[in-house]
């Protein structure tokens, strides 16, 4: 009740709290053992469990990618059959989209960081949060059952009537898996929206929200509004397979293009579910390592919301060749360009943030630079694909494959790597090896471009996607791409190596190794079970690097909820304006 009363007053008694550099009791030491982890409602542990699962699926789907690239070394059969190849690329796509990209930043890093950036003890519904994780696991189990039931080779888009004709057992299981998975995403979104609205610490107004929170907020809105449409679509597709209900099957009077509309109504916004949280990380990292306030706070914050909103109106640009109506095609193309503008604005704002900064090229910052380069290419090629006449030529070729890898991998995954390195000391309490980190980042950059740049060229030359065989003229491009994928694989193994090693032999991390002003850094590394040993009070903008650190280490002087024992660090009293 204390805060409810103090809110009415104009002043709040605050105190400085410096986080301890040698925490004895952290969330990692709090409850131990497998069972404690599996039943925990702590957002930090749930975040780590998501991170582990995402890493597992990323390794699996990445391994499949390397296998696919190896098969493409020669135009004809190399070592796997056509049907296996078709199943593998489907599995690679479905896993990367549904099991890696969608939960990667919001559910893994977001879960860990968001309540801390809000100064909250947990998300609004901790048990629901745990339930979301288990729903995700059940969805994954369904997908594995599907593999056992003959698998599925429909492409991750499950286009009808192919998906409702052939091989239905596998398709039924995987579509049910995706249906279940959707609920994990919906519940996470619901949880985040509520948390951001209701659980902000005193002083965190909407104008003082970290940009990461704005990005997660925009993401959550998309999750809640778009995912149910996927759920119903995929459920109808299951019914189509089980009962032949005929809604999407032309043989029974239905319409396959209707399926595409339904599917992309979700799956285009889903692209923003994947990339928008990455924008949040970039904003955090770039301001910390430039030691400078973010240029255009509101432009970046509101452009996330603008992208979320316009993102709902552009799904038809996946269907320019499908035979949808001419008016729809024109409108969708036009809106597609509009969604490009806020994205471009963000990039320029980040570049402007670097101007006259104090730039420290640590690994996370290196990833931000890589992001800016790769994501710009992804954006420009997106403009190319939004242009109607050019899209007719490029649709469903390797150009599209290269484009979405530049956006999803060059954007989302590079942002994830930036965030992972940035918050690694906070999450684990250990420092990773900076030299290896930089070497791996450079290798990721080289390997990535080597893999996907040739794909732009061969796509524009006419190489269609999802091809097991190809005509000889494309072989050089394919081989370059394959070598690039091996370099990428090595880079990821190096990252896996030094991150794992840091857990056991890593140098102990200070509470705030990057001297960030972010609220999440005003806790111990790793944090206490309750995140902070006091209720934080915020009086500054989150990126006010010109103000002294002391002004960012404030908490309510009279603590509640039995945390009085840590108060010996109090050193000064400040009044809130």
């Amino acid at each position: 009740m204390a805060v409810a009363e103090t809110k009415k007053m104009t002043t709040l008694q605050v105190q400085r709290f410096e986080p301890s550099e040698n925490p004895t009791n952290t969330y990692l030491t709090d409850e131990k053992g497998l069972w404690a982890w599996m039943t925990t409602v702590d957002h930090k542990k749930i975040g780590l469990m998501y991170l582990g699962s995402v890493a597992f699926f990323f390794a699996l789907a990445g391994f499949l990618a390397v296998a696919l690239r190896t098969e493409l070394w020669t135009p004809a059969k190399n070592f796997i059959e056509a049907d296996t190849y078709n199943q593998l690329f489907t599995l690679h796509g479905a896993m990367m989209v549904f099991f890696v990209l969608i939960p990667s930043i919001p559910a893994a890093l977001g879960n860990f960081i968001m309540p801390m950036q809000l100064g909250a003890k947990d998300v609004a519904f901790p048990r629901l949060n745990l339930a979301s994780f288990y729903i995700y696991v059940i969805g994954a189990i369904f997908t594995f059952i599907s593999l056992y039931m003959n698998g599925f080779d429909t492409g991750w888009t499950f286009y009808t009537p192919y998906s409702s004709d052939a091989n239905s057992a596998g398709v039924i299981w995987v579509t049910l898996g995706v249906f279940i998975l959707g609920f994990s995403s919906i519940l996470t979104g619901t949880n985040f929206i509520t948390t951001i609205h209701k659980l902000r610490a005193p002083g965190i107004t909407w104008g003082r929200l970290p940009l990461n929170i704005w990005a997660l907020y925009a993401t959550s809105i998309i999750q809640v509004l778009a995912t149910p449409v996927l759920a119903i679509t995929i459920l109808l597709l299951s019914f189509e397979n089980i009962l032949d209900i005929g809604i999407f099957d032309p043989a029974l009077g239905g319409d396959p293009v209707l399926y595409q509309h339904f599917f992309w109504f979700y799956s285009h916004p889903a692209v923003y579910i994947m990339i928008v949280p990455g924008f949040g990380i970039i904003s955090e990292v770039i301001s910390t390592f430039s030691k400078k306030t973010v240029f255009g706070y509101w432009a970046i914050a509101l452009s996330s919301l603008a992208i979320a909103f316009i993102g709902f109106l552009v799904w038809g640009h996946h269907m320019f060749t499908s035979g949808q109506s001419a008016v729809a095609t024109t409108v969708f193309s036009f809106l597609t360009f509009l969604v490009g503008i806020p994205t471009g604005i963000k990039i320029l704002n980040w570049v402007a943030t670097l101007y006259k900064g104090s730039i420290d090229m640590k690994t996370p910052m290196l990833y931000v630079f890589i992001f800016l380069f790769l994501f710009s290419i992804g954006g420009f090629t997106g403009i190319m694909l939004g242009a109607l006449s050019v899209d007719i030529h490029l649709h469903d070729t390797y150009y599209v494959v290269a484009h979405f890898h530049y956006v999803m991998m060059g954007g989302t995954l590079i942002a994830l790597l930036a965030g992972l390195h940035y918050w690694w000391p906070k999450m684990t309490g250990k420092m990773y090896n900076e030299t290896l980190g930089k070497i791996a980042a450079v290798l990721v950059f080289i390997g990535f471009n080597m893999t996907f740049l040739p794909q732009f060229v061969m796509g524009a030359q006419g190489m269609p996607r999802r091809y097991y065989n190809y005509i000889d003229q494309f072989q050089t491009f394919h081989q370059t791409s394959t070598i690039g994928s091996y370099i990428l694989a090595v880079a990821f193994l190096i990252i896996l190596y030094y991150l794992t090693r840091s857990l056991f032999g890593g140098e102990k991390a200070p509470s705030n190794p990057w001297n960030s002003r972010g609220l999440e850094w005003q806790s111990t590394s790793p944090p206490d079970f309750h995140n902070f040993d006091h209720t934080p009070v915020i009086i500054n903008h989150p990126y006010d690097y010109h103000k002294p650190m002391e002004e960012f280490q404030l908490g309510i002087a009279v603590s509640q909820n039995g945390h009085d024992e840590h108060h010996e660090t109090a050193s000064e009293e400040t009044e809130k304006a």
Partner: protein, 221 residues
């Protein structure tokens, strides 16, 4: 969680500052979830609109196969249950635990009545061979009045929409029984009735969706 200070009532979870914050959060969370439910059904309504635009005569013909009277009765039953759920919340707010339990019980009974009527409607149609998808095998007397090559599509939509709605009713009954048991144990009072409130919100939505389904499926001319 052992971290409550003495001033906090037992129902406040550790990560909330006070009871109000917890109540507001639960309510907002439920509203967000309801928005998601609306979009979920929105997809189905979309499919309905598309197919009705394509096959307008089919929809008017096929709707004649549905029983307006029993559909109407079910509408009244659900509206009644919405009223009793609202009364249950009011009882909880006024600390009238007996009223809370009675109203919950009436709601549960009404929900069952709805399902029983729905069961007989389905039963009757399946008996006539009006079944979804590949099970479609209409009896001659149906074919006599419903001679349309795509008739199965209307009933596919009918079964999917009412079926998923029925599933929501079943989930609602489960929630209501859970509330009834907790009310019996004295978990709710005028200070804390959040689960009653948010279940009520959910139940109103289930009712609202039926109010759209009924005219769209049964009453089109």
């Amino acid at each position: 969680m052992a971290n409550h200070s003495a001033s906090q009532p037992a129902h406040v979870q550790h990560h909330f500052v006070d009871s109000d914050q917890q109540f507001d959060s639960a309510k907002l969370g439920m509203w967000v979830f309801l928005v998601n439910e609306i979009l979920f059904f929105g997809g189905l309504f979309c499919a309905y609109i598309v197919f009705r635009a394509w096959y307008p005569d089919l929809f008017t013909q096929a709707a004649l196969q549905l029983d307006k009277v029993w559909g109407g009765v079910n509408t009244i039953v659900l509206i009644g249950s919405s009223l009793t759920v609202a009364m249950a919340i009011r009882s909880a707010q006024r600390n009238e635990l007996k009223g809370l339990r009675i109203n919950l019980m009436i709601t549960i009974v009404l929900a069952f009545v709805f399902l029983v009527i729905k069961y007989f409607e389905y039963e009757h149609k399946l008996h006539l061979g009006i079944a979804p998808g590949s099970l479609w095998n209409p009896a001659p007397e149906v074919l006599a009045v419903l001679d349309h090559p795509k008739a199965n599509i209307f009933f596919s939509i009918y079964y999917v929409m009412t079926g998923i709605h029925g599933l929501h009713v079943i989930v609602g009954i489960g929630l209501m029984i859970w509330l009834y048991i907790r009310a019996g144990k004295g978990h709710f009072n005028s200070e804390y009735y959040t689960p009653v409130e948010i279940t009520g919100l959910y139940w109103h939505l289930v009712d609202l969706i039926w109010i759209f389904l009924f005219p769209l499926l049964y009453l089109i001319e």
